[in-house]
Amino acid sequence: MINSFFNPVKELFRGLYITAKNSLKDNVTLLYPEKKKNMNKFFRGKIQYIKENCIKCKLCQRVCPSKNTIQIDKYYSINYAQCIFCGNCVEYCPRQALILTPNYELASENKNDLIFKEELI
C-alpha cells in the first residue's frame, strides 16, 4: 500500500526532472528574419522560366495538376498564386526551360504581383 502512494509521487518528481533536464539543452528555434534556413538544391521553391530553352511544346501546361497555372499563348505566364510547387513541370520539360529556385518567400500585397508574364515573340 505504501508503494502505491510513494510511486505516483516519485513519478511526479520524475516529470519535473525531465522538464528541468530539457531546459538545459540549447534552443531549437530559429530567429527567422535574421537567420534564414539554408535550403538544399533540390528544394522546390519558386519556378523560374528561361526563355531561350523553351520550345513552346505546352507540355508543362498539360502536366500541371492545378489546371491553369501556366498559360501559353502570346505570353508565357505562370500564376504563382495557384502553383502548388509540385515540380511536375520542371521534371517533364524536355528542354529544361523551367528551373526550381530555393526561394520560398512569395508573400505580396496584391494578387497580380504573383502573376509572372513574359513576352513570347
Binding site: G15, I18, T19, T29
Partner: protein, 358 residues
C-alpha cells in the same frame, strides 16, 4: 502612507481629509505596485516556460522582449469592447470589477515590511481568507452573464472548485495559528524571525504541502486550470470578454497568484525576516533616519525573493503536468486533503504541547 500624511499636516488641512487622502494615496500606490509586478510576472512566465521547452520566448519588443507585456496591455486597452448581444448588460459590466477590486484589497492586508502601512488588524490572516472568496462571485457572474455555454460551464466549475479548496486551506491556517498563537500576520512573521530553521515550514511540512496544492486549485493554475481549460471550454469564463475587461480579468488572475504566494511565504517561510537572522542594513548603523528606509527595502527584497521562488515552482509545475479531471479534483479535495488537514491539526497541537513542556 504615514510619510504622506505628515507632509499634509504641514499644510493644516482638516484631519478627516488627511485620513482619506492617506488611504487614497496608499490605494493608488498599491495598484501601481500590482501593475508593475503583474507585468513582470506575465513576461517572466512566458520566458520561463519557453526555457523549459527549448524556445526563446518573446524577444521582439524591447531589448530582449522586455516591453512585451506593456505592448500587450496597450493592445488590450485600445481593443474594441465587443459585448455579446444577449448578455445582461449590468452583470456583464460589473463582474470584472468584482474580480479585480478584492485582489487589490488582498494586497492591503499583506505586511510587506515590518513598518509597512498595511491594514493592521488583529485577525489579518483570517481576513485574507474572507476577502479571497469574493472574486469567486465575480467569476461566476462573468461566466453566467455572458450567456455562452462555454463560459457558463467555466463559471460553475471554478466556483465549485474554489469552495472545495477553501476548507483544507482554512484547516491548515488554523493549525498554523495554533502553533504561532496569534491571528495577526505581523506577529506570525515575528514569531518566525531569526535563523531560517525556526520557520513555520519545518514543523508544519504536511500543512505546507496541503496549502500548496489548495492554492494551486484556488489560483486556477495547471494541473487544476478548469475554468479556462483551453482544450475543452475554449476560454472558460473570460471567453466573451475583450479589450479592457479582459485585461482586468487577466491582471486579476496574475495578481491573485502573486498575493497567494506572498501569503504562503508569510505563513510558512517567515515573511520578511532574512534567512540568516540579521539584516544587512544593521551593519551600516547610520543613525540618521536613513537606515530605517534601508531596512524596509531589504525586508521587501526578502519577501519578494521567497515569493518568486514559490512562483517559479508553480510555473515549473505548469510546464510538466497534464490537467486533472474535474471530478477527480473534487475527490482529491474532499477525500484526501480534508482528512489530511485534520490529521495535521492534531500533529500541530501535539508539537505545541511538546514545545510547551521542553
Amino acid at each position: 502612507m504615514y510619510l504622506f500624511q505628515e507632509i499634509l499636516l504641514k499644510y493644516n488641512f482638516s484631519d478627516w481629509f488627511i485620513f482619506i487622502a492617506g488611504l487614497v494615496f496608499y490605494f493608488i500606490l498599491i495598484t501601481i505596485f500590482i501593475i508593475i509586478t503583474v507585468l513582470i510576472l506575465v513576461l517572466f512566465e512566458r520566458k520561463y516556460l519557453a526555457m523549459f521547452t527549448r524556445r526563446i520566448g518573446p524577444n521582439r519588443t524591447g531589448i530582449r522582449g522586455c516591453l512585451q507585456t506593456i505592448a500587450d496591455s496597450f493592445k488590450l486597452l485600445f481593443k474594441e469592447n465587443i459585448k455579446p448581444a444577449n448578455a445582461e448588460q449590468f452583470l456583464y459590466f460589473i463582474s470584472p470589477l468584482i474580480v479585480f477590486i478584492p485582489v487589490i484589497l488582498l494586497w492591503l492586508i499583506i505586511p510587506f515590511t515590518s513598518e509597512s502601512a498595511n491594514y493592521q488588524s488583529q485577525i489579518s490572516s483570517f481576513l485574507f481568507l474572507a476577502v479571497l472568496s469574493i472574486p469567486v462571485f465575480g467569476v461566476l457572474t462573468a461566466g453566467c452573464s455572458s450567456m455562452s455555454k462555454y463560459s457558463i460551464l467555466g463559471g460553475i466549475r471554478s466556483c465549485i472548485q474554489i469552495i472545495s479548496s477553501e476548507i483544507p486551506v482554512s484547516l491548515v491556517l488554523v493549525s498554523v495559528v495554533i502553533f504561532t498563537g496569534t491571528l495577526d500576520l505581523n506577529n506570525i512573521i515575528n514569531f518566525q524571525s531569526g535563523i531560517f530553521l525556526n520557520w513555520n515550514i519545518f514543523p508544519n511540512i504536511l500543512g505546507f504541502v496541503i496549502f500548496f496544492i489548495c492554492s494551486l486549485i484556488m489560483m486556477n493554475r495547471t494541473p487544476f486550470d478548469f475554468p479556462e481549460s483551453e482544450s475543452e471550454l475554449v476560454a472558460g469564463y473570460h471567453c466573451e470578454y475583450s479589450g479592457m475587461k479582459f485585461a482586468m480579468l487577466f491582471l486579476a488572475e496574475y495578481a491573485l497568484t502573486f498575493v497567494i504566494c506572498t501569503y504562503m511565504t508569510a505563513l510558512f517561510m517567515g515573511g520578511y525576516n532574512s534567512p540568516v537572522g540579521f539584516y544587512l542594513a544593521d551593519l551600516f548603523n547610520l543613525n540618521n533616519g536613513f537606515d530605517y528606509i534601508l531596512k524596509n527595502i531589504e525586508q521587501l527584497f526578502w519577501i519578494s525573493i521567497k515569493t518568486f521562488l514559490l512562483i517559479m515552482l508553480i510555473m515549473w509545475i505548469r510546464a510538466s503536468y497534464p490537467r486533472f479531471r474535474f471530478d477527480k479534483t473534487l475527490e482529491l479535495c474532499w477525500y484526501i486533503l480534508i482528512p489530511l488537514a485534520v490529521f495535521n491539526l492534531c500533529v500541530e497541537i501535539f508539537i505545541k504541547y511538546l514545545r510547551g513542556i521542553l
